[in-house]
């Protein structure tokens, strides 16, 4: 490759054709990259002869298109394809290129620059276009051979060599640190080159700066589908290896073997040269609207600059900057005003687009479209009738259109309703009424893709009397699966019936058109594994749900995937998140578990000590026969738990949607009426059931005889011991609407009582709606149904029981112990301003 030679010697040869007697002003450019050369191009276009130009480049190449390094790595392009200006361009324009010889110093007093090879060149105007330096995270092993960044052609060559070497060994391992734009493009290229790639990303979602969580989640699933391993929330501790890279160790101890590590965690403006020359530098080299630095004869452009507080890491702004710069150099006055940017991921088959501010919020309208069957997610954010941001995944065809509307701040109120369907739809003339659009469809047009139902069939079933969405779903199955056609079906209903549709059963919340039951059923049917997945597949209409649906989804997933689902703390109500009961003054109360209501001196002493030590203003015996310590401050909670733990006590869960307590009476051990050991049974039941998450709070009691001192007939599950065995009662509750239990059945052994209890709880856990207690649930489904499932169906009962016990094998972990041991301890502490009263920045 003839353009690739340029060592310093060769460059000095070139100096000969540089007109040394040239009397024109001398413009010296440091940086032969995208911005430096573009600036020269813009300048030449305005005034070809005004300046004599010399360009220094650290890389031994002519000017190439850096953003195309990704396709080169992926094998979609060759280096020759990405050259912007070849050797001829430099020659034809009389530009001297000194490539492969970085500038090492600027002397502003003498107006010279000096290069690594020792060459000193004078300038009249100096342009700094040094781009960015990749950010290298300061972990041990970062300097090992085989650890590289992704910035220039040399990095690509190193990656290609590693892939080649790996091939010989049957496929090498690569780790990419950083799941942003650059890291994912590197990972894609390396995968195509046959390497086994693991992406390590610190944040919870990929490309979190460009994408919202939903799009990030889709991207992650797609990449995993392509065989990459994506570790989010993963923190690199060390790169290890003896003499060269052998792998990466994470903070949590996991080790990932690798012969190549690509760090793509970010870039920072390359400002060292400018800083040493005494130019004003903040995050980047400070420039005015014509790219002039604090020295009027020194300009700077590209990623190395900071304009109006902003630094940019994309090319589009460079073009704007270069225009203003060239204008300034040729005495025209336009002025750069900053740029709005958009990004796309250059990974074949994965269409991802993002622009502007898509974070939504106050005064913003979030328009969300999720089309699960096509794998499409679109979100357009509108504020004051103007588009302010957009995220598109899966179908980015309209990205340019949205971006254009955004940049031009166009009023979109007219097309608001159809905006999300894209340009073709929104500007598709007159027929803007969605009902008219449905009415115009032919009879064989498909309405429901999942069940293959055509418009004619839906209309026929409405005409035969299915007058609600639910009835349609039940009759012809349209909209009964993924639900994405719900809107169409509703429109058809109102077209056919000539009126507004009678609304179906209550949806889970306003973020979805699905009911609780639909959601539960689909989670299991489609084997969904995370909240974002549910929201995508079920077409949630909000970006991250609300305080009604998030706790419900968290519970449904937890119940469906015991031991597997990763609990989402931020989707839990405060009591569950803090493992204590929030009180009206914002302090907490703590209720240690006392099995079956029993206690002993050691526990009582520990409780008394805690009360004194943390100045708890009150201790109270609860309705469930436990001691409740009131008035504990959030920051003291971990210490309180640690003290109670030390005395052998665990969390009472007296605050969660979970098993609260098992109330007992004294039973046959002491009471003259007692028929069975109700206390002992209560302890056994509590040992079996504690820690289980439920749709709502759950209370149990065991009484030793029909006198029922433990009030077992107003509990979710109650046992009344009788001479011949145990009466099992269900669905009672002492809340606002007091409800006495229904008798479920009578059993003769203690073990049976335990087994039926487990089966009953599991049925309730699997089938009740979130925040529905057993009483309304049983009234809804009927006690006969529960009897059928628990009493009559022996195999079914056994299956329920074993599912419950399986799930319990994961959930009987004492959250107090974990917190006291330091888990999430920072959440209990106040943020500590490092400089309590010192102003660190002034405006």
């Amino acid at each position: 490759m003839d353009f690739q030679n340029n060592g310093p010697e060769m460059a000095s040869e070139e100096q000969r054709f540089a007109p040394s007697q040239d009397v024109r002003e001398h413009l010296v450019v440091v940086g032969n990259g995208m911005a430096g050369c573009r600036a020269v191009e813009e300048l030449l276009a305005r005034d070809k002869d005004r300046y004599r130009v010399t360009i220094f480049g650290a890389e031994p190449y002519v000017n190439y298109n850096r953003i195309m390094l990704s396709p080169v790595l992926a094998g979609e392009k060759s280096f020759d394809d990405i050259i912007i200006n070849g050797r001829d361009w430099y020659k034809d324009n009389g530009i001297e290129l000194i490539a492969g010889d970085p500038v090492t110093a600027i002397d502003r007093a003498a107006r010279t620059v000096t290069s690594q090879s020792g060459r000193t060149v004078g300038y009249d105007k100096l342009l700094i276009a040094t781009g960015s330096d990749p950010f290298i995270i300061p972990v041990p092993g970062k300097d090992l051979p085989g650890v590289i960044s992704f910035r220039d052609m040399k990095d690509v060559d190193t990656m290609l060599a590693a892939a080649e070497a790996g091939k010989a060994l049957g496929g090498g391992n690569a780790v990419v640190i950083g799941g942003g734009l650059l890291g994912l493009e590197a990972a894609h290229g390396l995968t195509l080159r046959g390497m086994k790639v693991t992406v390590i990303h610190l944040m919870d979602t990929l490309m979190e700066r460009q994408l919202d969580e939903a799009a990030g989640w889709l991207l992650k699933s797609a990449l995993e589908g392509r065989g990459q391993t994506i570790l989010t929330g993963a923190n690199t501790a060390e790169i290890y290896g003896d003499g060269k890279v052998e792998g990466v160790r994470l903070k949590d101890g996991r080790e990932i073997p690798a012969s190549l590590v690509v760090m793509a965690v970010g870039i920072r403006p390359s400002t060292a040269l400018a800083r040493e020359a005494g130019l004003e530098v903040n995050r980047g080299i400070k420039v005015d609207d014509h790219m002039v630095t604090s020295d009027p004869d020194v300009l700077a452009v590209g990623e190395c600059v900071e304009h109006d507080g902003n630094v940019y890491g994309l090319v589009a702004p460079l073009w704007d900057m270069c225009r203003s710069l060239a204008d300034g150099l040729t005495d025209r006055h336009s002025g750069y005003r900053g740029s709005v940017t958009s990004t796309k991921l250059k990974v074949a088959g994965l269409d991802v687009f993002s622009a502007g501010d898509f974070s939504g919020g106050e005064g913003c309208e979030d328009i969300v479209l999720r089309d699960a069957s096509r794998g499409v997610y679109k979100r357009v954010v509108v504020r004051d009738d103007r588009i302010v941001g957009a995220v598109l995944y899966g179908d980015t065809a309209d990205g340019g259109w949205y971006f254009d509307l955004l940049k031009r701040e166009e009023d979109v109120s007219e097309i608001r309703d159809l905006l999300i369907f894209g340009q073709a739809f929104a500007s598709g003339g007159g027929a803007l009424d969605p009902k008219a659009a449905v009415a115009a469809l032919s009879d064989d047009a498909e309405i429901c893709g999942c069940n293959g139902v055509a418009k004619g069939q839906v209309v026929a079933c409405i005409e035969k009397g299915a007058c609600s969405l639910d009835a349609v779903r039940a009759t012809c199955k349209a909209s009964a699966s993924c639900g994405s056609c719900t809107g169409l079906v509703e429109n058809l209903l109102s077209v056919v019936l000539g009126e507004d549709v009678q609304s179906g059963p209550k949806t889970l919340c306003k973020c979805t058109s699905f009911t609780h039951d639909d959601v539960r059923r689909e989670i299991v049917a489609q084997n969904m594994r995370s909240i974002p997945e549910v929201m995508q597949l079920l077409h949630w209409s909000t970006p991250d749900g609300c305080s009604s649906c998030r706790p419900a989804l968290n519970y449904y997933l937890l119940c469906a995937l015991p031991g597997e689902y990763q609990d989402d703390q931020q989707s839990r109500f405060v009591n569950e998140r803090m493992h204590a009961n929030i009180q009206k003054d914002g302090t907490y109360s703590v209720v240690p578990r006392m099995w079956g209501g029993l206690t002993n001196p050691r526990e009582l002493r520990a409780i008394a000590d805690v009360v004194e030590k943390y100045n708890a203003p009150m201790v109270k015996v609860t309705g469930g026969q436990r001691l409740d310590i009131f008035g504990i401050r959030k920051e003291d909670l971990p210490a309180v738990w640690a003290d109670l733990n030390a005395a052998g006590m665990v969390s009472g869960h007296a605050y969660g949607k979970s098993l609260r307590t098992v109330k007992t009476c004294v039973g046959s051990e002491w009471c003259r009426f007692g028929t069975q050991d109700s206390t002992g049974l209560g302890v056994k039941i509590e040992r079996m059931t504690w820690g289980s998450w439920m749709p709502h709070k759950f209370k149990i009691a065991a009484s030793g005889c029909p006198r029922n001192c433990a009030e077992a007939t107003i509990k979710d599950f109650g046992v009344v011991c009788v001479d011949s065995g145990y009466e099992l009662h269900v669905g009672g509750n002492g809340g606002i609407h007091v409800r006495a239990t229904d008798l479920l059945c009578k059993v003769s052994t203690e073990q049976e009582a335990l087994d039926y209890c487990a089966a009953f709880i599991q049925l309730y856990r699997e089938e009740a709606r979130y925040l529905e207690r057993t009483a309304p649930w049983i009234e809804r489904v009927g006690v006969d149904y529960v009897k059928r499932r628990i009493v009559e169906d022996e195999a079914g009962r056994e299956a329920l029981r074993s599912r419950f016990l399986y799930s319990q094998s994961f959930s009987q972990e004492d959250p107090w112990a974990q917190r006291a041991a330091g888990a999430d301890s920072e959440l209990h502490q106040h943020l500590e301003p490092p400089m309590p009263f010192g102003a660190i920045a002034a405006e």
Binding site: G361, E362, S547, D585, G586, H830, L831, F837, A839, I840
Partner: protein
Amino acid sequence: MTDWIDIGTLADIPQRGARTVRIAGQKEIAVFRTGDDHVFALVNECPHKKGPLSQGIVHGHSVACPLHNWNIALKTGEAQGNDEGCTPTVAVKQEGGRILIARPASLKAAA
């Protein structure tokens, strides 16, 4: 002129969660981080009955109060829907990876 106080980094606050800051002589401040990594700061008191907003569920750019589930807009501090009331907001910004909150006005004189 605003004085800014550095209170930490984004990573110090759980996504869709909050942490609190105490400044002598001031009401406790709740600093929220949303799902899309925006940061907001409010006095840590619900306009209804002073519930600690920092302990609520954060969704979109709102927080649901842990006591009676009022929804408060993080940007304006205003109660949403049919509820009325407003929690004072505190100016906050992210700069160079740090989170800065505006020093409350009454402290300026004291400092």
